[in-house]
């Protein structure tokens, strides 16, 4: 189960892979994520997401995908990766 299924929601959290370490919540510059009652990450403010992909890169559990992120899942620091496959 993901906490957001619609394409409009920018951040997908794979609940069963999330271990609730809180890194994504702390690292998000826009405070998009919050801890659910079970401690796992959930998307609280999707409208604030700037798709920087920090949450995805910093998640130690491969539990987060940023939909339509600029690097299409291969984020790096130098800018966009051209011709990325979804």
């Amino acid at each position: 189960m993901t906490s957001a299924a619609s394409p409009e929601v920018p951040v997908l959290v794979r609940h069963e892979w999330c271990k609730g370490c809180g890194i994504c919540i702390a690292m998000c510059p826009k405070k998009v994520l919050e801890a659910a009652p079970d401690g796992k990450a959930t998307v609280a403010r999707p409208e604030d997401c700037i798709k920087c992909e920090t949450c995805e890169i910093m998640c130690p559990d491969f539990a987060i995908r940023v939909v339509g992120g600029r690097s299409k899942g291969v984020a790096e620091g130098k800018g966009d990766v051209a011709g990325a496959r979804a």
Binding site: C18, K19, I57, C59, S71, V74, E76, G77, A84
Partner: protein
Amino acid sequence: MAVPVDNYLRNQFMPHMWCPGCGHGIVLGAVLRAIGRLDLPKDEVCIVSGIGCASRAPGYLDFNTVHTTHGRALAFATGIKLARPDLHVIVLTGDGDASAIGGNHLIHAARRNMGITTVMFNNSIYGMTNGQYSPMTPKGRYASTAPYGNVERNFDMCELVKAAGGNYVARATTAHARQLSNYVEHAIQTQGFAFVEAVTQCPTYFGRRNKMGTPVDMIEWFRKNSVNAAAAAKLGPEELDGKIVVGEFYRGDAPEYTQVYEEVIKRAKEAAAR
């Protein structure tokens, strides 16, 4: 074409075994993103590990993967690379695996300039065996076998690999995950031996014993205590005490071993034909 990380995971074995907040997943993600950007064919990638927490990584990866014996990953990898120089051989190893029991193999893989990329997950502790000090545990830090504080000095593995003859040497922490991934990308592109030290948090053993707080606190600690290589060059040893110097430290162009050996084969065949 860049390939997303999910494509490289053996999803059926996820979630992985690492503790909540363990930085190893961040490091592994950085490695996989580098492979994705380079779009290396999965069949041409071989991941080799030793024993320890970091060395469990290959089991989760959809490449040719070998989980070998403690400390020996680079020796196995040397055989693989020499027999199949066309493969991208990447060693994922921990600080105990690479700097203690496997230290000699690291030195010699670098000296030979084998075309192997080594990513050392340095969490400064033996996590798999519940938190003993490693050669990478900073002096004064606590561990289950250093109850009065570690009396040993730790290694600078980047200096070691550079001195031994590697062609690429870099260090970053989990607080620098984007840079880390770039460094791994550069390492894979290196002809010859490439070494990336990834400083990563072990909240369960190192963090708890040393009262470093949550995984987030540990990452923040890395960020605050890191100095980039250019800035570090202007600082004295006292100012650098306790700091983590990050950056790309060395790029060399010494010939890669298997390419040199191909020349040996050519010469030997000529000699045999005479």
